[in-house]
Subunit: 192 residues, 2 copies
Amino acid sequence: MLQPLSIALVHHPVIDRQGSTVTAAVTNLDIHDLARLATSYGVCRFYLTTPSYDQQQLAAKIMAHWREGFGATYNPDRRQALERARTVNSLAEALEDWRSLAGSAALPLFTGARQRHGIGYRSARRLAREAPLLLVFGTGHGLSPELYRPEWPTLAPVRGGGYNHLSVRTAAAVILDRLVGEQGRCMPLAEF
Amino acid sequence: MLQPLSIALVHHPVIDRQGSTVTAAVTNLDIHDLARLATSYGVCRFYLTTPSYDQQQLAAKIMAHWREGFGATYNPDRRQALERARTVNSLAEALEDWRSLAGSAALPLFTGARQRHGIGYRSARRLAREAPLLLVFGTGHGLSPELYRPEWPTLAPVRGGGYNHLSVRTAAAVILDRLVGEQGRCMPLAEF
């Protein structure tokens, strides 16, 4: 039995093309693609992580449009998808919230196209049955190195050999499908 | 051994919210996400299908920027990804081109979130070893019903039960990963 699962889309600290630490911009499309993906795969919470007040306001406006505004009646599927989205200041805050819902055993599972020494998907599926995971995705050119911590697991990249430049949207799709597959069921949010 | 594989992103005929047949707009993001996905999974050709001359011009401009313009030196990964992209007028034209490259046994494999009676992924993987497939994805609210033909196979939707409103980008990622997985190798384009 899969434990409850959440995802975080981190906009800071991430790296840019040159490897400098930056805050990536929130995009309307990432919000929608990841919210729909999260809902399809029974993910409990989708944490949009940015310390920028302006960017949080923008994200909140997009979410409110589809949750409560005109969009909610125009497109109820998007309303449903965005119900599980939350804006937080940092990954630490996302983890704290997720632990308050799913218990203190909840654990981040990092992702990253450059993490050659990450755990395989078989181990990751075992982990997903043992602990409520918070899958962590980076925007820009990936999560900043200081986020990775030896006591927290990291997942091997999708497509370890050869060309590996997936967008965060498509990488998240593949990773969720490999972890959850067809069996995962959408957990009623009321349980949290 | 997997046979060579191509994908088509169809912008016409597709349906809109109300079920009317329309031509969906080409988007910069779909082009990039699907080109990077295609390159990562060793897909030979990415056909962008639209009968609209203006939209073809727009797509050609985006592709040329990354293939030959400033983008090619700024971001060689995108150049590589867009090398396999082609703009065509129709799905028939995409199939004709793909057959001229991969042989007359090449076969379309349709996708669609509403295709409840499609073949499963085990059958699809068998098919992908037997024939060079052209995986067909729809934009908008999905491929127009008249495109589906009884003599051509259709794939069962990703996540058949419950909420199923993935973007075409994330659905294509899951489908390619299920068909090709980690084993697929990027085929040198010179072979075609």
